[in-house]
Amino acid sequence: MTRRLQPVVALLLVAVVIGVPLWLVVATAGKSQGEAVDPDLTPPTTWHLWENLRQVWVDADIPAAFLGSMLIVVPTVAIVLIIGSMAAWVLARRSTRLTAILYALGISGIILPPAVVTVVLLLRQLGLAGTVTGMIGVYVGIYLSTVIFFVTGFVRTIPEALEEAARIDGAGPVAVFRRVVLPLLRPVLATATILICLYVWNDVFYAFFVIGGRIDTLPLNLFQVASAGLYLNNWHLIFAYVILMSLPLVVTFALAQRKIIAGITSGAVK
């Protein structure tokens, strides 16, 4: 009985809990401005989805915001993963009081909230206020803890004998790290990449303080569009923007979902 009921319940739940909000997005994004003033679940009388998408693409200058997001996300993820796993490797392999203290400091950022106001002051003093470099630095500072935590735990499960073989062949630490350790870290780095991409790609809070108004990213831009749009009752444009902004991540995820789910589940609970 439960076996036959379970798929029905699962599908119903998907339809109501996920389907309804997503339908609201698509239906509203397909309406004319007049119809979208009071957003509801009725389908548009005539579909204007394509025009609306094109209008926000041009008016809200999505290509520029997309570029801004990419300029920040790509270097952030690369830097945080490389220097984070370098540190994590050494922290996992050396067990002294010094490394224990450094490890505790290194992962403290998982719990402690970043000082978002004073970082602005600091960036000004460093001449990095409002720059892409400053933004990348702030994100790296915030997410290094996550990388150090996950990777250190993972390195401890890798037998050191694998490194020794390379060492006997004469490889120095850099070569051992690059040729032996980094490839072994691939599963945990894949998980960390997804998590950090998600956080940075979607972040609006830290971006406000650091680069708000000087560089556009997709979430900052959405916030502007929506702040103006709510005032003007332009719900159709807000949701057209939401579709354009969410689609890249959702498509990437749908294509890679099996690997990603396996990576997250193996990384998080161990």
């Binding site: 798929p7 009071d38 050396r94 909230p113 630095g137 500072g141 915030i142 803890s145 959702v250 609970v269």
Partner: protein, 282 residues
């Protein structure tokens, strides 16, 4: 090579895992994480603002002012209520979904992907969706219950991630254990609660801790659905920080940022300790 002619004990480790590998990470951590945190403790006691160039120490003035007009404790209370509600809802939903979608059938695999879509979407977008969905109802206009609605929305966005982690936990339960319970004559219900659920303790720790601490740092969802209203009853600390910073009251924003830091530090360690202890008992 000289690897085999090592001198003092431990020198191999020193040479093969050199400390300079730590330098780039810790320099960036120092500059972009620890220094601003130290600044938090300094500038909370000044009159730093957008209206004048000089910054002067003022002692506890900011704290006194925030305490006396009630803002400090109201924001603190709202933040804690919000975080606890999110942690409860998100875990109930995530746990329920994981149990419902546990078997690897086609329908379940597809359903899981759908529940992950909100996780991938920006929190800001999620906030606008629910603002539109609830527009014209009482749901976002009630001074008592709106905080609960906003917490439900937050839990809706992240329940897919909790579900994944509970699913991973369910997968680690050895089959022999449930079979043994079955042979001993335990009912399905009993097997579930007394045998399988205890195995989920590490997943509970992870999920509760991340939901609690993550929502104390919340901003986007509340900003997009209510902007802190009605009558500032959903103004969690980060909304206050954002608003006062925007008004140029930098010192007040810093003071609240320090309060948030202390709140999280004070709450995090007992929470993680208690949950870890519970893992041992079960």
């Amino acid at each position: 090579m000289t690897i085999l002619s090592a001198g003092a004990p431990g020198s191999i480790v020193r040479r093969t895992h050199p400390l300079w590998f730590l330098v780039p990470a810790y320099v960036l951590l120092l500059v972009f994480f620890f220094l601003p945190t130290v600044f938090n403790f300094v500038y909370a006691f000044t009159d730093w603002s957008g209206f004048k160039a000089a910054i002067n120490p003022v002692g506890f003035d900011n704290f006194v002012q925030l305490t006396s007009d009630g803002t400090l404790f109201r924001s603190l209370r709202i933040t804690i209520v919000y975080a606890v509600l999110v942690a409860v809802f998100q875990n109930l939903f995530g746990f329920g979904l994981a149990v419902l979608l546990e078997r690897d059938t086609l329908v379940n695999r597809i359903a899981r992907v759908f529940f992950l879509i909100p996780v991938l979407m920006s929190a800001l977008a999620v906030g606008y969706i629910f603002q539109a969905l609830l527009k014209g109802t009482e749901w976002l206009a009630d001074t008592t219950w709106t905080i609960v609605v906003v917490a439900l929305i937050h839990a809706w966005k992240w329940m897919g991630l909790s579900m994944l982690i509970y699913l991973a936990g369910l997968k680690t339960i050895p089959l022999e254990v449930t079979e043994a319970a079955h042979i001993d004559g335990a009912s399905q219900w009993r097997t579930f609660w007394s045998v399988r659920v205890p195995f989920l303790a590490p997943a509970v720790t992870f999920n509760v801790a991340t939901a609690l601490l993550g929502s104390m740092n919340g901003f986007d969802i509340v900003q997009a659905t209510t902007g802190g209203g009605p009558a500032r009853t959903t103004e969690i600390l980060n909304i206050f920080i954002y608003r006062t910073f925007g008004q140029g009251l930098f010192a007040q924003a810093t003071t609240m940022s320090l309060v948030l830091f202390l709140l999280v530090a004070v709450m995090a360690f007992p929470v993680i300790y208690v949950l870890r202890k519970r893992e041992e008992i079960l």
